[in-house]
Symmetry: C2
Subunit: 338 residues, 2 copies
């Protein structure tokens, strides 16, 4: 049995963490909910009873076994080492530690072994990266991967509760003929805000020097680190769409070896953490509003991309709050208990 902390318990991912512990039957002997001073003192209803939220401080982790962090990079940067120092494993959902060479970046379906070499902190990848990595793992394992082109269709949940609420409010406004008043997207602390209701915003996280967003960089750098293969080429365009909580991705994957497309489908259907939903004749393919709530990555529209030799086109959808965040983090900790 495990003594578990959740840091950032009141956020969108934090709440999924609490639910996820129960759903994945994590052996919880004690659950401590931590948050900023602002949320401390609130009481949260959980599958483990009513729990009072405490302010996260270094000594919160004393005597605890594992802490799931989902309170942003600044908090993780400061408190994850404090947890580790106190013998409490930090599984961090922020981007703070992901590219640190001493910190494993883990998608259990791909590189659970890396998690076992941790020094007290394990990083949970970016949501769109997790979903892509689970979807392509059977392709990588069987045929190798040279290049991935990804166009994402990312739900507002990736920007937290405020963005979920913003999509709802703006949609109501637009339908009623009122002007929407965007305040959160594309970035809470951004200089300009854009309407997301009935719109698309091709901008997630900050822009870098080369014209890519940080979100797009994450899909390159994190994918290489997770597969432990710097030769994988990745190019992504990441786009926010007016969907509440599941991320979708159009992927175009060039393999190293030849494949038979039916074998690719079989490999996905039997792949870890995957469901193949691919029956075009019956209009069956993954759709975000149906995938929401699932802890798996759903893949469909698998077909030969004949525009290049050895290329596969597919469509992957995963619940951003679950497999894209909370589920993956909990699965990492569960894997270490085995």
């Amino acid at each position: 049995m495990s003594k578990v902390c959740i840091v950032g318990a009141t956020g969108a991912v934090g709440r999924e963490m609490v639910q996820g512990l129960k759903e994945l039957a994590y052996p919880v002997s004690e659950l401590r909910l931590l948050a900023s001073e602002h949320s401390a003192g609130k009481t949260m209803e959980t599958p483990y009873g009513l729990i009072k939220v405490e302010k996260a401080v270094p000594d919160s982790f004393k005597g605890m076994d594992v802490a799931f962090f989902s309170a942003g990079s600044v908090v993780s940067k400061e408190l994850a080492p404090e947890a580790a120092r106190r013998g409490c494993l930090a599984v961090d959902n922020s981007s703070a530690w992901r590219m640190d060479p001493d910190v494993p970046l883990v998608v259990p379906e791909v590189n659970m072994d890396a998690a076992r070499k941790n020094k007290g902190i394990i990083a949970n990848p970016n949501c769109s990266t997790i979903i892509m990595c689970v979807a392509i793992e059977p392709i990588y394992r069987n045929y190798g991967i040279k290049r991935i082109i990804a166009a994402t269709y990312q739900a507002v949940s990736g920007a937290g509760w405020a963005a979920i609420e913003e999509l709802r409010k703006e949609s109501e406004d637009v339908l009623a003929g009122r002007q929407a008043k965007p305040e959160v997207l594309p970035m809470k602390n951004g200089t300009v805000h854009h309407q997301i209701a009935f719109n698309l915003i091709p901008h997630i996280d900050v822009f870098m020097e080369d014209g890519y967003t940080k979100e797009e960089h994450k899909m390159v750098d994190e994918t290489r680190k997770i597969f432990g293969d710097q030769s994988i080429m990745v190019c992504a365009t990441t786009v926010r769409v007016p969907v509440f909580r599941s991320h979708s991705e159009a992927l175009f994957v060039e393999t190293v070896k030849d494949f038979d497309i039916e074998d690719v489908k079989d490999a996905i259907a039997t792949g870890k953490g995957l469901v193949l939903e691919d029956d075009p004749a019956k209009y069956v393919y993954p759709m975000p509003f149906k995938v929401s709530g699932s802890t798996l990555v759903h893949v469909g529209r698998v077909r030969v991309d004949s525009s290049a030799p050895r290329s596969i086109a597919l469509w992957a959808v995963g619940d951003q709050l679950k497999k894209g965040a909370a589920t993956n983090a909990i699965q990492i900790a569960l894997g270490l208990l085995e």
Copy 2:
């Protein structure tokens, strides 16, 4: 001055045709609105006054100069030759004639010359193809194109008024906590219907043997015909998104020759029918709700795709009802008047 017919005048594209004639200052001396028996007898308010809708029959085209067809393939197949036979040029927005070797398929920014070789019928390409072709024309002209990967984000307007109404109604239902009742998408005459509100449907038009949709095939076949270049490789995943009327596309273009990315941006900025909206520092990039109403294709997020040699990533948005349909058709006819 020209005597103009619009066939399918009461549909979503038909109404845009009527508006487009005025917007583009088409020299209209007479305007005849044609439709099915079902809509005949209705009166429509137009920039040319109130006009009674007549039933479209072969003799409707007698003495007329140009007929814009937007009433579906069955009507175009039957009536476009009747118009042509009566000396009335048929500009057809359906897919009926697009791949006919005797019928030019025209995007004025790319191949206006082809339109001049018509035998009485000219085909207007598919909406997502038009938007893509306008966006990539400067790249093709300056550097040649080997391969295009396209992931589309297509508005419901592409499926007509009923789909626009369906998105509105379903959104209201979902926001009010009611079950949505899809009846139109992904295809009006389809066997199954899926919710589009706060969802994505990776299925536009019918599925083909190879797992691609007909919409995805159009982006391959029509692009090659428009550029008159069978060597262009194209792979597309086309997706319906909960946006009312502009289509967006994430494009990844491999060129034949080397390029400097600043020159590519300049070529797009000065390209025909194009606007470059590309200032990430100021959060400026094309977004469908802002592009709606524009007759141009808006391009942004132009950057080097370093996952392959000589590759460019970009984001293109165009109003599906205007440049994706009505505007393009009217521009073809206008070009022939020059």
